[in-house]
Symmetry: C5
């Protein structure tokens, strides 16, 4: 998620479009108990006449790549310039703000996690009395099941208002956190195996990356949790009493998600520790091998060197049994040293 | 405890049964001061007529493996669909929620701990004015002593209401934490011995596992502690004043349990540290052995190599006393080096 | 302090006597401004008639090893069954509870600390309008100075009520924390010397033990501090206004004690760190010795080995000055390497 | 940012000018919807007559190097002696204080960050009903865009009061934090590459410096965040209701900036950890090479030394096939040892 | 600062004089706008007649070594026995307590810091309506500038009451913290250089000491900060409204001082980490040297040993070109190994 910042000292109300964000694709969903219409909107102006009817309206904007369109939408739904800035200058911290005629809600959608990296996408909600506008950074989302439920005639969602739709979308976003977090958990479990198998810098770097990913996820979930709590606690006008019970359920899911993240973060931290210990342990083993071999052969080599000297007067050299006696002495030294190492417990298996 | 999550975007009220959870076995206990009946229930419908009487009713459901039965129970006791979801989608964080006609309470039962692993099982309570429903993930629990007390004619429990029974079960669950935590404590004590005996990666992995188990236990106890406190503080309607004094006792036990867990967690963390230090210490010992042996013999070997050379003109070679003089020099070198090491304190015992 | 727990699911009011706790020795102290009586009580029943008089009564129970006696005392002073359980099921967290006719206070007495271990003993107070009952786990305490002050005719304590006596005992318990903590501090100071002297696993294990002891002490002082604060803040009925000023002094002492413990804990943690660093430092020194010796002699040994070969055609071998030239070359190599090490700063003293 | 402290015991109201701070350069900006004047002020006295008019006045003081000028300004704007002290004795913690006729606000301007170091400069605001005075330590700032907006006839800023100008400057200061923090983030990313490339003490020192820089930045942002929050919460008189909505935006930016700093700090801490692990890993590799080579050749060297001995009676020496047999034995030993190392996984690539 | 504790169970009101504290030297300063008298007091009784006049009185007591004098002062100024105990039983945590006719304030004066150690001295204030009594542990303090200001006729301090004098002294104490903390900061900066220069246990011990000193300083500043805040917040009667503005300035200084201490503590902690890394880094370098040298020469030495064997049948031995060929082979092996090390990046400079 590239950070999209205005330049320093820019006048309020100047939009800096996120690089690479596609031109907005606007889809309008209008429904009540009996009817459901979904159509692509070419120009924001077309929406105006739908707002006058009795249907509940969901305007779904995917892509933020055209300033003119955004300002038209802002005017249509009376969105404050600072709010439209926050929608465009992704990523914003998840937060909610009450305006005269609507509630603003910033959330983040997570995806991926298989390879230790996650995709982040800001989803902004404008929740009005009978309409809902959502802004997404890119095309593609996790809302397909909601669209299916809207199009199904018998679904309860059709009988509820825009607030309930906002809840359903928010619930879907939060539910989608769990598979991502679990993917990260699986990555950590794999890394744990690698750590105890004694692998090298690659494991370390992967562990370091996944910990940093978990931090990013945490920074998405914690503020969202506070935001949902704020919606419940402040009795946000735009949410009916019935929906607020369901928001409490979303809050519980946020708490669960953040607890899972914390658990994995602690696991990651402890794994880093284990990594250091495993490396130290390996070193010990290596050093033991070196020390045992060196310590046994160094004195023997010295002895053999001694009797390789060419001094003219070396009485032992001329004795018949010198050689076998020396071999015996060498054997004795070896066994003594081996015994010493054994007593110290150096041959204990792992 | 396998995590049982609904799929993303599922409609509220869709149940995802925990994999491997057996078909519900329902037992009904009905009692007052004078009588006590306990019977297996084949079909939830049979319970209805018991609810109309004056007896206190405990419906104990073990196993969550049949959706139809669960919905029937939900209807019988007017359980909210979100509540029945939470009962089925184990594990929930321990929490309590007040509904119009009953209080919902989620707890976790712990078992094991001998081998550094614990078993977790969600126990959900529906506490009504004169009835108590408990849902357990699996068959088998720690409530046998309560059942004995119910069946004993003179027991005080028989004279109390459903709230007191709920307290007694909750108390039993919390009391059962202590042996589990103590088992974990014993595992840590064993690991401490192993650490100072200088064992390898096995110890490390076991330590890492037990720390992660303690985290899991902590995540079960802390929210339960808050939950019990909430029951006391919020003056939960379903609990009479007399029972609330006993709940305070349960709260104290939760505090004690969580303190024990914290103590063991700190012990575990400090043990990890000790492990690293012990490994470093061992390395030092090994290196000392290698260095002492190498440093003493390396110059001697060089000297013997020197006089093994075959140059035609090497005057020392032809002197009569060269050999004994060289031996003397070698002895001198060895003693000097040993003295150097001794002065540095390398032979100090541990 | 062995943990004395009831078995899981035990009925409230079942006492599990602490293993090894002696039979209760009851001493009654009765006093007012003019008179003072102290006598051993064989049977709790004897106390009843003293309670009717005008004297202030202190019943000191040392040892919890007889259930019957405890229940008799409970009945005599109307102690709640849950309270008597807490008195017996040691150790309880320090806490205070108000009952209709008396205040319950649980504290812990510390002793020892010289060898890094402390003795813990639970002292429970029942503070009534004109009487004070104390329960101790074992015989022997730190209250001798209080007994002397009671028996001394002119002492101000004689003119005060049971609440002031309770304060005096509590003050003595807290004052006795300081020498224990200072003993632990001395142990840490000794360990600090050992750490920088580079001692081995023994130091490590001692450090690890003392840190765990400090944790235990902390878990005794912090809740006591909160408990005393609660007595002051809640305007506990049983303590007169005048005594509450003195309780503030006890609270200050608790704060001082807990700050000392925190200071020693931070010292201990930093010492653990220093230990690791010292060990690493030692390793560096050892490796330097090995590397300097090996690196200098290994090429020399190679050279001497080279001219120890027996090839028939080795021209250098037959030149007259080969030997002195080679010795010169060897000297040169040694000096070059020594210079290299010196430039790298390996001979800098510590 | 050199710390500029009064000497101990100095009388309140004694100014200690920051060393090297230039003589104040005062610029006066006076504007309303229709007109805009900007002129350099030689002497503070010249400002007085501007204050009487209807224009909004911004007095920008760059440099604190002349006591007389500062006192004149203090008198002109009735600045409290303690306030003028805080303006001069840089650096102050960002804070705000309400006085009878104006609000005092201390902030810090950041610059640089490319090389892991940041420049800090205190900017103090005196926000009066129709005037704004800013004091900067040095000449040069990030306010050029604001000056351009003031001089542009159609700019909304011209129609607003001094409070809105103060907001615009504050917003610019906070916006300027982001590129600095991102520069630091780039430095950390570079260091991360260096760490995994296994570079030495230079990397370590750079990492240590950047972490300390991040701490400094944190100590600038956190108190500013609280300060802005205080302005919003306390309904600071000098800020109109409309401006306060914009302050909330500044607050959000402060929160974002402080979160970025925290994220980089955690990254830095985890990088330190990685560094240690990478170094340990490298050591393992080095030791493996040494051990493999030594362990294979040490026994072979011993064997060759053995048959280099000059004993008169060494039967193997005189056998014809001894030499090839010995070569075979040596090959066998080498292969066995290589196999041993392979089985232990020492040749696994990284 | 030696801890001066009463023995366990001592009666309240028993004074234990700090060991080595000199006999009290009492100086009385009496002043108003027009006059100023300063005289040494032999006997506390002499003070009584001064208290009756209209002058503001400052009684400065240096040294706590005489119980009788202290009790006389206590009686003269109606100091509570518990208060006089706290004055004598140094060190007390900085705190403030309101009594009927005066405010008690405990502070600590710091000095030194050049060598990583600081001197602590308790200064206790009794602030009455028109008098101020200060108790210092030892002779000598940082108040000389105050005394000069009192004796100077035109100084504003002469026109203010005892509360303003107390503020001035407190301000001086807090101002004196800064040079001490900066001295400690300089020590840390020196240690930082030593750490990266790779010095040994001496550096480590110095670092460990300075961190423990910073902890001590922290424990002096933090409670003082809270204490000053309490004086401001609780509207302590003895301080006039005008003085309270100045106290807010003292509070700001306390905050600044505590932030500096925190910054140095974090620096110290990170330095400890760097130390470990530097030591590990050094080890790597040392090992590289050893491994390169050993690995190159070990095979060469083996080869030369091989042809030093005395077998009767070694065909290579008798070939004319064996020697130069072998030298060539040796060169080849060396170059191959050097190339291997170069490819692994072992010769990269630091």
């Amino acid at each position: 998620m590239h950070r999209n910042r205005p330049i320093v000292g820019a006048e309020p109300g100047t939009l800096f479009l996120p690089e690479g964000s596609p031109k907005p694709q606007i889809t309008l969903h209008a429904y009540d108990k009996r009817s459901y219409t979904s159509r692509a909107i070419e120009h924001p102006g077309e929406i105006a006449r739908w707002l006058e009817g009795d249907l509940t309206i969901w305007v779904d904007v995917q892509g933020l790549g055209d300033e003119a369109t955004l300002w038209e939408l802002a005017e249509l739904f009376s969105i404050h310039p600072l709010a439209i800035e926050d929608i465009v200058h992704v990523p914003q911290r998840p937060k909610t703000q009450a305006y005269d005629n609507h509630q603003l809600l910033f959330t983040r959608m997570l995806s991926g996690g298989h390879d230790g990296h996650v995709g982040l996408e800001q989803v902004s909600f404008i929740i009005g009395p009978q309409y809902l506008v959502t802004f997404q950074e890119r095309v593609g989302d996790v809302f397909d099941s909601i669209r299916r439920r809207l199009s199904s005639e018998k679904n309860a969602l059709r009988t509820k208002g825009a607030d309930h739709l906002a809840y359903a979308l928010l619930d879907t976003i939060v539910d989608a956190y769990f598979p991502v977090i679990e993917n990260l958990g699986d990555c950590i479990a794999d890394l744990e195996d690698e750590v105890f198998a004694g692998n090298g810098d690659g494991t370390l770097q992967a562990l370091s990356e996944i910990r940093s990913t978990l931090l990013t996820v945490r920074r998405s979930i914690w503020p969202l949790r506070d935001t949902v709590n704020q919606l419940i606690r402040d009795d946000a006008e735009c949410f009916g009493a019935e929906v607020r019970i369901f928001l409490r359920d979303v809050y519980d899911h946020c708490v669960n998600a953040s607890e899972m993240v914390e658990a994995y973060r602690e696991l990651g931290a402890s794994l880093m520790n284990s990594y250091l210990s495993v490396v130290s342990n390996r070193m010990n083993e290596i050093m033991k091998v070196l020390t045992v071999m060196s310590t046994i052969f160094i004195p023997l080599t010295f002895l053999s060197g001694l009797y390789g000297m060419n001094f003219i007067w070396m009485p032992e050299r001329d004795w018949k049994w010198s050689y076998p006696i020396l071999l015996g002495v060498m054997l004795l030294i070896s066994l003594t040293l081996l015994g010493f190492f054994k007593r110290r417990g150096w041959f204990k298996g792992h």
